[in-house]
């Protein structure tokens, strides 16, 4: 009888599923493709509707997860094969070489400061900052271990340099490290791979990448974050000046049939409201305006939160579509919208786009490995939309969080636990029938 479960994705849903299982004595192999667990929630500045610091409430869970005796955290790893059936699967996991011995590295950061290969876009900072060839994705990364990016490392590409190895007092650098394939037996699999942020460049009417002061919401999250690339100062790309007013535009790419995202992402109305409030906390006299279609503030405390944004923070809500067709000479943006059928234009110093959140680009490949079906929009299809959302067409394979369709943090956490419940049921069933 297998007493173990494979969890794919180390975001908040995967972490919750892992902790629930491990606390019941189940061995968990948590596979995360990036060098650190934490997922999207680690990137966010604060969370609605309490304005809790996101990483501050997540970091303890990350640490619990990594330190749990029943959880084997495999970062920088991917599931590449799955055979067998419910109760007895054989999983093949690719452990990419990080060229740093995880058991020796203490995350002191010496190498990160000395590496001469700079200027590589930092994904965690949504591309707003750069990193070096050896890096830790963020300050609170778990494990707190450096990773060498083999595509950029001078030693691995050209055979010269070796600075990190020289400065590492713990002798943790290992240029000889090879990718490894692990064969793991598990009784059930939980997939919780989350979302990607759609690039709004495709929709030219929002001016993204055309006008420097148009940002995606994820970029803005990093801008307001004290540990982010600007140290928490909201400043413009064009001139590093603080904006006097910011427009937030909702449903950028979503609720849009032409782009094959006819769905609503469920979280954007609230994260934009939060971001508009935070702008005010950073700079009191800033003016913030949210252009929305329907303000979907429909979970516990959300409607009241929007009330607070209006009342206490003076956030303006305009019920209209909006586009960014032009900019002025000093890179201010002209936002076009309409009120009561009349079109209007207003100048803003900065525009933040609430872009569609889409399934990970790796989803089709992973779905093939797992054998699960995808919906027309690329989410994993549930076995039954009413009574079995966390189950898939493959017995023993369960889903949680955004990969199953739009979900906010509490829903992702609940689904993480729910998938854990189904996985334990599968283990119990396998034991009974064995």
């Amino acid at each position: 009888m297998e007493r173990s479960v494979l969890v794919i994705g180390g975001g908040v849903a995967g972490i919750q599923a892992s902790l629930d299982l491990a606390d019941k004595g189940v061995i968990v192999h948590l596979v995360e493709s990036s060098p650190s667990i934490g997922g999207r929630m680690a990137q966010l500045d604060k969370t609605f509707p309490t304005n809790d610091c996101s990483i501050c409430i997540l970091a303890p869970k990350m640490a619990d997860c990594y330190g749990h005796p029943n959880i084997n955290v495999l970062t920088y790893s991917e599931l590449i094969g799955l055979e067998g059936r419910k109760g007895r699967f054989q999983a093949r996991v690719l452990r990419k070489a990080r060229y740093v011995d995880e058991s020796k590295c203490t995350g002191c950061g010496e190498c990160l400061q000395k590496c001469p290969t700079k200027g590589i876009p930092n994904d965690f900072e949504a591309g707003l900052a750069t990193r070096r060839a050896i890096y830790m994705p963020f300050l609170q990364a778990v494990p707190r271990v450096a990773t060498i990016d083999r595509e950029h490392c001078k030693f691995l590409t050209e055979g010269k340099c070796g600075v990190c190895k020289k400065v590492c007092k713990r002798e943790a650098i290992d240029y000889e490290m090879k990718d490894a394939i692990l064969e793991i037996e598990v009784g059930a699999v939980i997939c919780a791979t989350g979302y990607d942020v759609w690039n709004p460049k495709v929709a030219g009417e929002y001016g993204y990448e055309r006008f420097p002061n148009v940002y995606t919401a994820m970029e803005y999250e990093r801008l307001t974050n004290a540990a982010g690339p600007t140290g928490g100062h909201v400043v413009r790309r064009s001139d590093s000046q603080e904006p006097r007013n910011i427009a937030f535009i909702q449903c950028v790419g979503s609720r849009n049939v032409q782009l094959n995202h006819p769905y609503c992402c469920e979280v954007c109305c609230m994260h934009s409201t939060k971001e508009a409030m935070l702008a005010k906390e950073h700079k009191e006299d800033i003016k913030t305006t949210i252009f929305y279609k329907d303000l979907r503030a429909c979970s516990k405390g959300f409607f009241e939160y929007v009330g607070r944004a209006k009342r206490d923070y003076g956030v303006e809500f305009v019920n209209s579509d909006a586009t960014v067709q032009e900019e002025t000479e000093n890179h201010n943006l002209i936002v076009s919208y309409d009120v009561a059928g009349k079109s209007e234009r207003r100048e803003f110093d900065m525009v933040v786009l609430a872009t569609t959140l889409i399934p990970r680009d790796s989803m089709p490949r992973l779905a093939k490995v797992l054998g699960v079906e995808l919906t027309e929009f690329g989410f994993i299809r549930s076995k039954d939309r009413i009574l079995a959302r966390v189950e898939t067409s493959v017995p023993g394979v369960y889903i949680a969080g955004y990969c199953a369709g739009p979900a906010d943090i509490p829903e992702s956490v609940a689904q993480g636990s729910a998938a854990a419940a189904k996985a334990v049921e599968a283990l119990v069933e396998a034991r009974v029938s064995a």
């Binding site: 019941k24 006819p262 516990k300 019920n319 009561a340 829903e411 956490v413 729910a418 419940a421 189904k422």
Partner: protein
Amino acid sequence: MSDENVRIGVFVCHCGTNIGGFVDVPAVAKYAASLPDVAFASDSLYTCAENGLASIRDAIKDHGLNRVVVASCTPRTHAPLFQAVCEEAGLNKYLFTFVNIREQCSWVHMKEKEKATEKAKDLIRMGVARVRLLQAQEESRIAVEPKALVIGGGISGMTTALSLADHGFPVILVEKDGELGGFVRNLNNLYLDGKDAVETINPVIGRVRANRNITAFLNSRVVKVDGFIGNYDITLSVDGREKKDKVGVIVVATGAMEYVPYSLYGYEQFEHVVSLTEFEILCKNKALPKIHSIAFIQCVGSRGQDKSYCSRICCNVAIKNALNCAENYKNMLGREETGAEVKAPVEMKAWEEISERRRRRRGRRGEEEGGEAPQAAPTEALEITIFNRDVMAYGVDHELNYNKAREEHVRFVRYTPENLPKVNMEGDKLVVDYWHDTLKMQRKMNVDMVVLSTPLISQPDAKDLSKLLKVPLGQDGFFLEAHVKLRPVDFATDGVYVCGTAKAPADITECVDQALAAASRAAIPLARGYVQAEALTAKVNPDICTGCGTCEAVCPYGAIRKTEKGVAEVIVAACKGCGCCGATCPEGAIDQSHYTDVQLLAEAKAALEGVVH
């Protein structure tokens, strides 16, 4: 401590350059060695690395240390590691103290190295003052009764019960009604798959009945709960008879009910004004009167009208019913209403075509352009309007349904709370009088029926249950979870969980997700078979306690009860050692082990040494 010779070891970490780059670590270690009762002090590059840990282990043995201070990073990540090393060397882990000279010193004083070094010394002096007074603590394990109580036999409660049963645990399911199924039994069909609601839940009810691990009691309720996680003595009233049992965990799945819109929009005043649930019941029983036009009014009694919150599901329920009307109206008619089909005259068909064209021209939103649309002649096509404030068609399926409704010519008319629509009778006609925000003018619409979308509200007995279980309700009257983001189905009190609409309005899928989540959480203590009681708990001095009850009221974990003598007592298994009771006690009768007044004062005095004499 008089009977003991205190020997303290202090280990100061460089953390590479994280601390060593800004704090003169060797000087700090030298200073530590000069403090009273410090028998050994050293510094190392990485105290957490194996050689650093070995040096702690060796020093405890070689120098006979009986107290340990590590000055390095954060206890959040590293305390368990150093405590384990102490235990390996035979030292109780509570004789260890962590001093954070990284996050709380070097990292925040990178530009003032001398001051950082002085502050590190201050922090260590405080740690040494504290560790000297620490005492060994024992952690105890308390056995868990491997059985669960689930309160509520709706879809949430049944799902939790089934999952726990399939985990292998016996479950008692308590339902106050005479049958299982809950609120869903009222519904016609379900909006995500269009299937009949009762047909959807009947198999679930069947599985609950057939499951040998589940004992379901109907016409019953919980009347008394005593105890704490793992050990609850419960008393049920089953068909009026008392029944006692013992369980380890409790899940609250008591659901919600519909708000009744008394005195709103002509409810109970005009015949054809009904609530959303009443409309479902009419549809389900195929008892709709013959109508030509119908209006749904959203946010009746919610979003500030009476209740402050948005009820999440009503927009989608209204859209579902609008689609039902558009696609399946004939099949929901009352029998006396059907009769022979009325054939529309040719000219009327032309009218239909014209109005169809006009509707299409009006665009997706389906707003009217000019005067009233001509009254439909006898025809089966219904005019459907949804008066709304924002359409909460969140996610994939709801939004697709919303699109479909617009394709079916359901009109969505937005109103604002400043300009609420009014429902009147003019002659024998129901009229909705509303403000058209685009045209900026008051308009009237004749309708045959008005459906009021009212919010879900908490159960009337939620308050009693919350007192019984010592768990809180939020301002909106729903049960309040431990943390709105990260602990959606836990209560702050261990051993009690919540799911479904007892917590907040949610649709059936969300209720099922939460119900499974609650099962997962509740199964943790059941699967372990024990709970690890905190060693660091509050302790009441019964000689001083006056039984005023202040501590019981402030305890967030329901961990204090009154004894038969009328004084407070700490339930060790439930206490988290947060210290609220100790801080609040007006008599100073409560002390927090490991954080006693004496220990805290010694630490504070050490901090002020050289500043205040």
